[in-house]
Symmetry: C2
Subunit: 120 residues, 2 copies
């Protein structure tokens, strides 16, 4: 499967003294993800604000014909591998619906929202 | 403009003794919206779970080529008119980006997430 976009909010702050205000935690998360090998068919795109500010850091996974998912409360120091694992599982689906037990814990417990597939 | 979908989570609960558990607040919100005149170009669709459970009741606005928005903390008794007003303003845009001052208050203050336009 292909055509998956992993959006990362680059303006997310996070209440974490490790990061302070500059650079922002979301930017750090984006940078760390960009240094990794992305799953096949997944493109990484930084976005200025996913409007999930109260759940910072946040990411979204979307692809034509699939459910879109938004996740939050992510930590650049902890969650990079799990985000990539979840993105790989999402990319392997036809509809974006990864079976519950196969989702990484952050995708089970830190969902912000999901949106049905867009009708084309 | 056309092709806008207003999704309403029909399984949302809401901590409100007026509704109790049956029918759920999300189902009531969907019913009340369906009784109204929808803005031109807007289709109303009920969805079982938008995964924004902690921000119940929730809705999403989406259309091909436009930003998708998810809103939460909505009350079927209070917010039907504002949701329809916001949907009309969204429907009138090319990209889904309604100028900040023109958004109803619930769209300014109760955003759950937004996702960039899907590349076709």
């Amino acid at each position: 499967m292909s055509g998956v976009t992993l959006y990362v909010c680059t303006t997310c702050s996070r209440s974490n003294p490790r990061y302070g205000d500059s650079p922002r935690a979301g930017k750090i998360l984006h940078e760390r993800l960009s240094e990794e090998q992305l799953p096949e068919g997944v493109a990484l795109v930084g976005v200025e604000c996913l409007s999930a500010c109260s759940r910072s850091c946040s990411v979204a996974l979307t692809a034509p014909g699939r459910w879109t998912y938004v996740y939050g409360d992510l930590d650049p120091d902890i969650h990079v591998a799990a985000i990539l694992d979840g993105a790989a599982r999402y990319s392997a689906t036809d509809d974006g619906l990864v079976p519950w037990r196969e989702r990484p814990e952050i995708f089970r417990k830190q969902s912000v929202a999901r949106i049905p597939p867009q009708e084309s």
